[in-house]
């Protein structure tokens, strides 16, 4: 008679199951997080000479051969760790050395005119382009803000770092070289942050970091550049 009641399932272990699943997902999610060095390749061009000609003084040339010897401009026998110091010297060119890349102060007027231009473009823009132009406008406004903060440290430099490693170079050396170039820019930016904002790179806001990236804009070319 009477219906049989099913034995109760102990729900106490549900927590364990959920917990284990959670651990599983955390572990797998961690795996996909990978550190890397980002690069945007230049577009393919049928002509062998790709880039616009660059003035000789503006090109900072770094060669590397299969023995991992480095030629920096005309200096040989360098160690990898010496590159940031040399690069920073070249990019800043504080003494206005005629053999080093030229730079000039950025004026408020020119930044304002870019902002105005972008504003005018935004008004006339078609639906599809609004987003990208709005982004550019925001960028140009941020540049003006950067000028307010960093003043005469905000210079427009015409430098191009030209990296031409030999085909036989070991990949680890190549990555190391890339790393050293990135380090030079990072150091320049954090030195300026310390000077003007009194804070280290780690303590900056995202906006401040973006502005510093505008002040010292990275300009590295891996295709052979033409002399002007």
């Amino acid at each position: 008679m009477g219906r049989r009641l099913a034995p109760e399932i102990n729900a106490g272990s549900m927590a364990d199951i959920a917990f284990l699943l959670l651990v599983f997902f955390i572990v797998t999610a961690e795996m996909s997080k990978e550190e890397g060095i980002f690069q945007i390749l230049p577009e393919k061009n049928e002509n062998s000479t790709i880039t616009e000609p660059v003035k000789e003084r503006n090109a900072i040339r770094i060669f590397m051969n299969e023995n991992n010897d480095i030629l920096f401009e005309d200096q040989v026998g360098l160690k990898m760790s010496e590159i940031p110091k040399l690069l920073k010297e070249q990019i800043l060119n504080t003494d206005g050395n005629p053999n080093m890349p030229e730079n000039r102060l950025v004026t408020k007027g020119e930044l304002q005119s870019i902002i105005d231009k972008n504003k005018a473009r935004l008004e006339k823009a078609s639906e599809g382009k609004v987003k990208s132009i709005a982004k550019q406008l925001k960028k140009s406004q941020l540049r003006l803000k950067a000028l307010d903060i960093f003043g005469n440290d905000f210079k427009k430099s015409n430098h191009v770092i030209s990296v031409t490693p030999d085909k036989g170079v070991r990949y680890s050396s190549y990555i190391k070289l890339k790393d050293m170039i990135a380090k030079s820019y990072r150091e320049l930016r954090s030195e300026l942050a310390k000077k003007r904002l009194g804070r280290t790179w780690k303590d900056l806001t995202l906006e401040e970091k973006k502005m510093l990236e505008m002040v010292y804009k990275k300009n590295v070319s891996e295709s052979p550049i033409e002399k002007k």
């Binding site: 102990n10 199951i17 550190e35 036989g168 380090k183």
Partner: protein, 166 residues
């Protein structure tokens, strides 16, 4: 009432012990952990990544394609030689296969995003980043070939996967 209660108690079968349930799930967990680990390491080539300090973390929402370059493992050296080779998906292929691989990858990304939300597939596929996992002892020549092919395939956003050094 008391009679009814007694009846109920009697019909109770022997209780199922749930004490072993965590063990079962534990085993499942271990199974998944082990299989996922072997899958990512399931390479026919050996790769030891170089290390760098100035790195960024890839946003995991961005679609990616992986290209591996390294020396074939011992068991496969008879077949593929001991020079660095390119592995795409599960196969060791040549640089000339990169374009096809990228196109397939793009199509599959487009398809999967299109299913979730129509109209975004193309835009997502164009955001694809190609992650290069290259052995630190490989020579740049092989990488150059791959990069040339990537330019042909118009996959210009690349990411060199490295170990973070302090």
């Amino acid at each position: 009432m008391s009679k009814f209660n007694k009846k109920k108690k009697k019909s109770d079968g022997p209780g199922i012990t749930t004490a072993s349930l965590p063990d079962i799930v534990f085993m499942l967990l271990f199974f998944f952990m082990v299989t996922t680990k072997t899958r990512t390491n399931d390479l026919s080539i050996s790769i030891s990544l170089p290390s760098a300090t100035e790195t960024g973390i890839l946003d995991d929402k961005t679609p990616t394609a992986y290209i591996n370059i390294g020396v074939p493992v011992k068991a496969l050296q008879e077949l593929y030689g001991d020079n660095p080779r390119i592995q795409l998906n599960d196969a060791i292929l040549n640089a000339s296969d990169v374009v096809g691989f990228i196109e397939n990858k793009r199509a599959s990304i487009e398809k999967s995003f299109e299913m979730a939300q129509p109209g975004v597939g193309k835009a997502k596929a164009s955001k694809m980043i190609v992650c290069l996992k290259v052995d630190q002892n490989a020579q740049l020549g092989t990488l150059d070939e791959v990069r040339e092919e990537l330019k042909t395939a118009k996959a210009l956003k690349i990411n060199y996967v490295v170990n973070k050094a302090n």
